[in-house]
């Protein structure tokens, strides 16, 4: 186990000790994190499957994407917030963990990709297609796979300490 100065410093702060000493905080924050995962993953899967042309095809892509994107964004903020609490509470567990940083990179990738694919539909005047063009459909499936890998990394953090 490494002890970078910043981690030692963070570990010694009252906030960090408080998070660790109040035994209900970590499991509760983790539970909220899991609920937010469900919101972001559920929203992503529904809108990605519509983008891929295999779900709710009687509803416009524009409508489905616009309905779920705000939930994805809100869930991401909650995930980041709960994540910060967990990192502050247990910096030694998280900040020197390569799986954690891999997960952070994949979150940035997954959400940027999700936003980029949805951007045309979030604009005021969006074109509608019979079926979305190929890059969009492929990215939709890739997106679902990426979120799964993010979830797996999230679980694996505990095993890479």
């Amino acid at each position: 186990m490494s002890s970078l100065p910043v981690i030692d410093w963070l570990y010694a702060t009252p906030v960090s000790s408080g998070i660790r000493d109040l035994l209900w905080v970590v499991p509760t924050v983790q539970s909220v994190h899991i609920l937010a995962i469900a919101v972001i993953f559920g929203s992503a899967v529904i809108s990605d499957l519509r983008l891929a042309g295999v779900f709710a095809t009687d509803e416009s892509v524009r409508g489905v994407v616009r309905r779920y994107y705000p939930w994805m964004r809100a869930a991401l903020l909650l995930l980041l917030g709960t994540g910060v609490i967990m990192a502050v509470g247990e910096p030694d567990r998280v900040l020197v963990n390569s799986v954690f940083w891999l997960k952070m990179g994949l979150v940035v990738l997954a959400f940027s990709m999700a936003w980029r694919v949805r951007r045309p539909y979030l604009r005021p005047l969006a074109t509608s297609h019979g079926t979305e063009p190929q890059p969009v459909r492929a990215f939709a499936w890739l997106s679902i796979a990426l979120w799964c890998v993010v979830i797996i990394c999230g679980r694996w953090i505990a095993y890479a300490i």
Partner: protein, 162 residues
């Protein structure tokens, strides 16, 4: 055979032993379990919010339920399979864990709640399918379902902390 012997026998099976002694089996099962949880709760939340009058991506509650239920079921089955395998690996320990036992109880209640809805307000869905807000019974089903499934998630996470 009493319960304790049964649980011990389960733990002693080749499959349970392999899972328990493997480096990757448990994390892999947990990961798939979390993906399943995300889909169970995510899909149920969309329907429950609709029952509370917050529309999803379509107006019809019936069509929404029909198109999302397959996902909920597939994800739930995945959770049951992964959960059973994890349980088997440490059966005697889990059987004594109050959070685990409460979680199982909540799952039963969640199932009963769904059954009550399906035999009640859902039977008359043609009357309130596109109406907002939905009738009181549907709204109650939505709130209780959300509360129960949120409890399931919390209890599930707390298993590791007691």
């Amino acid at each position: 055979m009493d319960l304790q012997s049964l649980l011990q026998a389960l733990e002693a099976t080749a499959l349970a032993t392999t899972i328990r002694e493997s480096d990757i089996a448990f994390p892999a099962l947990e990961s798939v379990h979390v993906i399943g949880i995300a889909l169970v709760f995510g899909s149920i939340a969309v329907v429950d919010l609709r029952l509370l009058g917050i529309s999803a991506h379509r107006r019809s509650a019936l069509r929404l339920i029909h198109e999302l239920l397959p996902f909920t079921w597939a994800a739930f089955v995945t959770c049951v399979i992964t959960g059973s395998l994890m349980f088997a690996a440490n059966a005697t320990t889990y059987a004594q864990n109050p959070m685990f036992l409460w979680k199982m109880g909540m799952l039963v209640l969640a199932g009963l709640n769904m059954a009550v809805f399906h035999l009640g307000a859902f039977r008359r869905i043609s009357e309130w399918d596109t109406a907002l807000p939905p009738p009181g019974a549907a709204r109650f089903a939505g709130v209780s379902s959300m509360a129960l499934w949120v409890s399931v998630v919390f209890l599930g996470r707390w298993i590791a902390f007691v």
